[in-house]
Every structure is written in structure tokens, then in C-alpha cells.
């Protein structure tokens, strides 16, 4: 009995005021983050007449919006478009960023530093400033309104290159030299030895790139004109302009669009957290 009392007393006294403040802040943050998502889900379960009824739990829940959206061929098309774009851009980024990052980290050649600075400096130019040159370039080459037009600006990124370079610097040279002595050529050394050693960074890069492209709106909106080539975010926004704003449709589409993101987070959250930590530490 006395033991129980004393252990309880200890437990009480170990809750520091700082913790209570932290938990409160985290709770408020959590509410702020979750409310819009709940609202999105709730609106997707309402029919048009209930949209402005702000109850979280709909008075008459319905799945009609989902049936309507999923049977509308355009939505599936946009979903596939987004998937194709995000997957191709992710693969391309993982490949090229790590190849260039590896070269900059592990080879000594004239002008290496200048190349690195040049790549890094592009990080400081905001996307809004790049859109016009991209557009002019796309139009000159005839890439407007095409998959390639949507994808080309993101096929390789300065951030990814920088991230991978930092990680490859942590790979001991001995590994590469041992491989060189064993007779592997330089490309195989990168592919078979160096790359597997930086998988945490690679998966972080892949996840960020995929999510970034999945939700990309601004550039796809500018470069595409035919509805067939819209990505999901662009397509969804078109629900807002065609007739009146169809909130229930937009929210249904958005709910479905969240799914891949959610799945990625559920399965790969370990890597995401590690990736963020690593990027924070190294970057």
C-alpha cells in the first residue's frame, strides 16, 4: 500500500509543467491539422443541399458523390495522369540526383566545386520565377500540353542532388576502393555498392518527390490545356469553375486523392521520419 502511494506520488511529480505546455501545444496543433481533413471527409459524405450545413457528422450521410466521381471517366483519367507523372518523376529523380550527387561527392575533378555551387544556387530561385522560362522553353520545343511538358522541370532537382551528395560523402572511400580492386567498373560501384548504402536517403528522396509531384498544381495548370492531360489537383479545381463551385465533388475527389499519400505515410513513416531527421542533420 505504501509502495503504491509512493510510486503514484513519484509519477505525479514527474509530470513537469514544461511537458503540459508541450502537450497542450501539440494538441492544438493536432486539432488545427486534423479539422480540415475531417471537414473534407464530412463534406464528401453530404449531398449538394447539405454542403453549407456545417455539421461534422452529416445529417443524411451518402456515398453518391463517390459513385458519381468514380464513374465519371475524367476523374479516373486525372488520377492515372497524376500517378504516371509522380512515378516517372520520382524514378528519374532517384536515379539522376543520386548519380550526380555521387559524382560530386566521390570524384575529384576540375570545376567540381563550381558545378556544385551552380546546382545549389538554383535552390534560391523561386518556382514562380522559373515558370515563365519553362513555359517559353516548353512552347519552343512543342512540349505544351503533353506529359513530358508536365514532367520535364522536375526530372532532376537541385535539392535531391544536394541531399544525395551529402549522404554519399558519408560512405567510406574504402568500400569503393575495395570494389575497384575487385574489378567493378565505376558505374557498377555506384549501382551495386554505393547506392545500397544510402537507402534511407534514397527512400526519403523518393517519398518527398512522389508527394510533391502528386500534389503539384501550379505548373501542371499552366502547361496543360486539354482536360485529358490534367493531373488530379488541376482536374479537381476545374470542378470549381465549370458551373458553380461543387464543394461536395471537390471534397470527394480530394478525399480519394489523399489515399495514396495516406498509404505511403502508413507504410513508410519510419523512412519519412528518418528522412526528415537526416535531411535536418545533414542539410
Amino acid at each position: 500500500m505504501t509502495a503504491a502511494v509512493s510510486s503514484q506520488g513519484r509519477a505525479m511529480s514527474s509530470v513537469k509543467p514544461g511537458r503540459i505546455v508541450a502537450w497542450t501545444l501539440l494538441f492544438i496543433g493536432g486539432v488545427i491539422m486534423v479539422t480540415p481533413l475531417l471537414f473534407m471527409l464530412s463534406t464528401s459524405l453530404k449531398d449538394a443541399s447539405q454542403v453549407y450545413d456545417l455539421r461534422i457528422i452529416p445529417a443524411v450521410p451518402t456515398l453518391d458523390n463517390y459513385w458519381e466521381i468514380l464513374s465519371d471517366g475524367r476523374f479516373t483519367r486525372w488520377f492515372v495522369n497524376s500517378m504516371v507523372v509522380a512515378i516517372i518523376v520520382t524514378i528519374s529523380n532517384v536515379f539522376f540526383d543520386s548519380l550526380v550527387g555521387y559524382t560530386l561527392a566521390k570524384f575529384r575533378f576540375r570545376g567540381r566545386y563550381i558545378v556544385f555551387i551552380a546546382i545549389l544556387s538554383t535552390l534560391m530561385i523561386p518556382t514562380e520565377m522559373l515558370v515563365l522560362p519553362w513555359y517559353l522553353m516548353a512552347s519552343q520545343f512543342g512540349w505544351l500540353d503533353s506529359y513530358w511538358g508536365i514532367m520535364f522541370p522536375g526530372m532532376m532537382t537541385a535539392f535531391g542532388t544536394f541531399l544525395m551528395k551529402q549522404f554519399f560523402e558519408g560512405v567510406p572511400d574504402d568500400f569503393l576502393e575495395a570494389a575497384r580492386i575487385d574489378g567493378l567498373n565505376e558505374f557498377t560501384i555506384w549501382w551495386k555498392i554505393a547506392l545500397p548504402l544510402v537507402t534511407p536517403a534514397l527512400s526519403a528522396l523518393a517519398i518527398f518527390t512522389f508527394l510533391g509531384n502528386w500534389t503539384a498544381f501550379f505548373w501542371p495548370l499552366i502547361v496543360t490545356t486539354s482536360a485529358d492531360l490534367y493531373t488530379l489537383p488541376v482536374g479537381l479545381s476545374s470542378f470549381a469553375v465549370e458551373q458553380s463551385v461543387q464543394w461536395e465533388k471537390i471534397m470527394t475527389g480530394a478525399s480519394i486523392a489523399t489515399l495514396p499519400t495516406l498509404i505511403i505515410f502508413l507504410f513508410l513513416q519510419r523512412y519519412i521520419v528518418r528522412g526528415v531527421m537526416l535531411a535536418g542533420l545533414k542539410g
Binding site: P172, D174, F175, E177, A178, A179, R180, I181, D182, G183, L184, I193, P196, L197, T199
Partner: protein, 356 residues
């Protein structure tokens, strides 16, 4: 198996030379140890033999063939690295098989070779494990396995034991030595540890500041060091050096006393008299040898013997007493070394003068 000949080898980084034109001929099947303090150019020399560093000047021949411009993979050498450099993402078997990457053997033949090597090194039970599940000694054995599997003409070792704990180091030292006896392959081993050099080498190459100071068998280096550096570097604890000045054919020691100097020393006045701690003992060796007296300051009991540090005229001198004759700290003690066990060096040039 192969000979390795190095002639006038120079390595420069920018304008700084780190290896200054060294010459060395390594016989077929010989176990040569390059030893010296860090920054002496021993690893750089090894890496130039391996082809991992470009040669600034001079020539390296392996089996009579100039290899200066050959890629590492075309030199048919194998190398074992300090941190093992075994790949953490593949199994032990795959790690060893990397050594056969360029071999044209069939898959099953490769597998047989890997198993054979694993057998030799006692790794058979570990073939499917990842390196993270191995101890330091096992990892180093995997690295050696990867080197062995290819049947290279020469083995290069770059401080392979320095990451292991003391006991394991001793064990691996013996294993590598035994392996060398069995395979008879030419081996070049780099270390900063003189005990490793003494115990493993057929011949030791002592290096300092990018130059070779002395080449010889372990006993030659121990008995006939050419200068103060080698004398102090080889042997543990290090050799005692007592300043002395020559007068009338006798060397007057600064710590007191004098000894009969060898006749060949007549030309120099300031010298250093060297005596190894193992040769300095409380047992009287007669009047012709070295005699120093002082107060016992520190005792290091090793069991078979006790190392005795005595303070004499501000200088610490290390001697050894037989196992059971342990002096007490603070006691006065006199140590003797026989005349034929003394070393003489020029104080100014630090070169050996005459070896008894």
C-alpha cells in the same frame, strides 16, 4: 605469386612531396611489413602499389611488368583495409564472391571457391549472415576471404588489425602469418605497430617522413639499428638513451659513471649510449658494462619480469628485474648492462656509430 619492385618512387600532392624517391625490392613469397609513425608515407606507398594513388615519379613493377598506368583491377592484387570494407548490404558469401567479380568461372564453380575459402577461414557456418551479425575478427576474416578467393599475385594489407581489440589482434596476427605460410603469397603489410611488424615480417621496412630508414629482418633491426629513430621504434619498452661525452677512450655518462668506449668511436665527442630495458638488470654484469644508479620511481609487474623505472639525475631509465625479485618504490637501485649489449649513436646526427 609475384615479385614487387619499386624504384625511385615519388608521390606529390600539389607541391608537397610525401614519398621521396624510395627503392624497394620484394621477393616472391616474402612477407614485408612497412612500419613507421603516421604520416611517414607507408600507406601512400601501399596505395600506389595497389593502384589507388597515382604515381608522381618512379616505377612499380609487379612480376617484372610495369604497372604504373594499370587500373587496380588489372594488377591482380588483393587488398585488406583497416575498416575491413566488407559490404554491409550483402551476405558473407556474396562479400567473398565479390573477389571473383571479374572471374569467368561458372556460378557453381564460384560458389565452390567461396565455400573452400570460407572453410579455410572458419567461416562456413556464417556464409548466409550479414556483416552486422559478425564480430570484428569475423569481419576481418571475411575481408581476407574476399582477398584470397581470387588467388592474387600479391596481398596488400593496410593496417588490418588496428580496429581489433588487443586479444583478437594477437590471434589474427597468428592467423595471417599461418595463412601466409600456407599460401606462400607475396604480402605487403602496413602498420604503425612495431610489435606487429616484429612478429609478422620476414623483412621490415622502417619509414619516416616519406623515406626508407632501414630495411632488414626483425632481428637485424633489433640488433643493428642504423639510427636513434629505428632504435627507439623497434623494441618495447623503447631503448634507453644516455647522453655521454668521450674522454680518453672512456664515455663519461651524464647520469654518472663511465664505460670503456669501443675504439671506433674516437672521432666523436658527444654521443648517446643506448641500452634496451631487457638488457638492464639488477644483476651485476662485471665492470666492463654499463652501470647506472637511481631511485625506483615506477614498477610495471608483468609476471615473467618486472619493468623498473629508475630516476637518475633527472632522467628516467627503464630496466627489468626477474619475475620474483621485485624492488620497492623509493629504494635506491643499481642496474647493469653487459658491454656487448650496448648501442652507440652520434648525438648530433643521431646515426649509429658502432655496434658491439
Amino acid at each position: 605469386m609475384a615479385t614487387i619492385e619499386i624504384s625511385r618512387l615519388v608521390k606529390r600532392y600539389g607541391n608537397t612531396a610525401v614519398v621521396h624517391g624510395i627503392d624497394l625490392a620484394i621477393q616472391d613469397g616474402e612477407f614485408v611489413v612497412l612500419v613507421g609513425p603516421s604520416g611517414c608515407g607507408k600507406s601512400t606507398t601501399l596505395r600506389m602499389i595497389a593502384g589507388l594513388e597515382e604515381i608522381s615519379e618512379g616505377q612499380i613493377r609487379i612480376d617484372g611488368r610495369v604497372v604504373n598506368d594499370l587500373q587496380p583491377r588489372d594488377r591482380n592484387i588483393a587488398m585488406v583495409f583497416q575498416n575491413y570494407a566488407i559490404y554491409p548490404h550483402v551476405t558473407v558469401a556474396d562479400n567473398i564472391a565479390f573477389g571473383l567479380y571479374r572471374s569467368k568461372l561458372s556460378k557453381s564453380e564460384k560458389r565452390a571457391r567461396v565455400e573452400q575459402v570460407a572453410e579455410t577461414l572458419g567461416l562456413s557456418q556464417l556464409l548466409e549472415r550479414r556483416p552486422s551479425a559478425l564480430s570484428g575478427g569475423q569481419r576481418q576474416r571475411v575481408a581476407i576471404g574476399r582477398a584470397m578467393v581470387r588467388d592474387p599475385s600479391a596481398f596488400l594489407f593496410d593496417e588490418p588489425l588496428s580496429n581489433l581489440d588487443a586479444q583478437l589482434r594477437t590471434q589474427m596476427r597468428i592467423e595471417i602469418k599461418r595463412l601466409h605460410h600456407r599460401l606462400g603469397a607475396t604480402s605487403v603489410f602496413v602498420t604503425h605497430d612495431q610489435v606487429e611488424a616484429m612478429t609478422m615480417a620476414d623483412r621490415i621496412v622502417v619509414m619516416r617522413e616519406g623515406r626508407i630508414l632501414q630495411v632488414g629482418s626483425p632481428l637485424e633491426l633489433y640488433e643493428k639499428p642504423v639510427d636513434v629513430f629505428t632504435a627507439r621504434f623497434i623494441g618495447s619498452p623503447t631503448m634507453n638513451l644516455l647522453p655521454a661525452s668521450l674522454r680518453d677512450g672512456r664515455a663519461q655518462l651524464s647520469v654518472g659513471g663511465s664505460i670503456q668506449a669501443p675504439s671506433s668511436l674516437a672521432t666523436t665527442s658527444d654521443i648517446l649510449v643506448g641500452a634496451r630495458p631487457q638488457d638492464l638488470s639488477p644483476v651485476d654484469a662485471g665492470s666492463s658494462g654499463l652501470t647506472v644508479s637511481g631511485t625506483v620511481a615506477v614498477l610495471e609487474t608483468l609476471g615473467s619480469e618486472t619493468l623498473v623505472h629508475i630516476e637518475a639525475d633527472g632522467q628516467t631509465i627503464i630496466g627489468s628485474a626477474p619475475g620474483r625479485q621485485i624492488p620497492k618504490i623509493g629504494e635506491p637501485l643499481t642496474l647493469h648492462a653487459p658491454a656487448e649489449r650496448l648501442y652507440y649513436f652520434d648525438k648530433a646526427t643521431e646515426k649509429a656509430l658502432a655496434i658491439q
